[in-house]
Symmetry: C2
Subunit: 206 residues, 2 copies
Amino acid sequence: MELTTTRFGVGLPGWVAEEIARVEPALPDVEARMRVAHRLARRNHREGTGGPFAAVVSDAATGEVLSVGVNLVLASGLSGMHAEVVALCLAQAGAGTWDLGGAGRPPVELAVNWRPCAMCYGAVLWSGVARLVIAGEGDEVEHLTGFDEGPMRPDWKEQLAARGVDVRTDVLRDEALDTFREYGERSDVVVYNGGGRGRGPETQGS
Amino acid sequence: MELTTTRFGVGLPGWVAEEIARVEPALPDVEARMRVAHRLARRNHREGTGGPFAAVVSDAATGEVLSVGVNLVLASGLSGMHAEVVALCLAQAGAGTWDLGGAGRPPVELAVNWRPCAMCYGAVLWSGVARLVIAGEGDEVEHLTGFDEGPMRPDWKEQLAARGVDVRTDVLRDEALDTFREYGERSDVVVYNGGGRGRGPETQGS
């Protein structure tokens, strides 16, 4: 047997650099970091690169931004390229380590514009981040956008805490809901639930 | 702000092509597909590219192999590059779609040499595969290898079934345990639990 595909690569769309060009390299308060996530999430769905989700990885002490990620499921054609995965991969690629919480390294924060889905929850567990900051955690995201976020355990925050990850929620919550509402009101979006359960222009008969 | 890292890429190590060169391109029975996963998993940890885990994505009807993946956490430096993620990304990159279960496509199987971890569980949910075949599902993997597999819901199989994914377990189970036992008995391995909870040569003081 000969393998036809042995590599894959993922890159941030060009508009991301443009969008954050005027953002300061260090953002000392958590609201400023979440505001970047909100801006990227909103532009991401408008640009058609993926769903309305974005993430910012930073030095938890100084607020220095280490990487950003947006949902790239549509742009990359890979179902796993959620914002958290993209941001964590870029932070680890930049740092040259699979453990952002390794010995001698400063604590790292991941800020996301909603609670991670079932997959990203696990991705956070293995990444080595010390803090997860989210805009909110309820099922509003599913009601407003139509996305399936997957089954979560009721004790998901305690499970993170047991592995050294603090969770802070409700940071600029209303702004997150505004983005999801805008997304949900569009008639031309692709909701990329897998297994033929997606809906939207590109999923019709493709 | 200027982003320093905007791209990442992942490729299978060269030994994978060599290892499967004599494997038939279509493997009509599930044991043959699992046997490939077992071979790749065992060689992966011996080669030092990652943990003792591998996955095979195939056409569920014909057994045609669409992609293979091995755990590349160490080789890639990315904590999310578990075998399932690598195999699913390569299958989707090859097929040119984020939904392996999209309309008009043949059903796809993912065979893995143990139950997916918390993250890979979610990755399976979003991938569009119609069948998940695993060698086993108990906590033997954690006892034998030292890896944290993360919190799972007791109803994880029912949650997959509700999204159209059938699960078949205990396919060549003993062979999986042999590999985990061999791995666990090594003194020179890196157990890449994140957050400074890893153990092994490279995690000491790095």
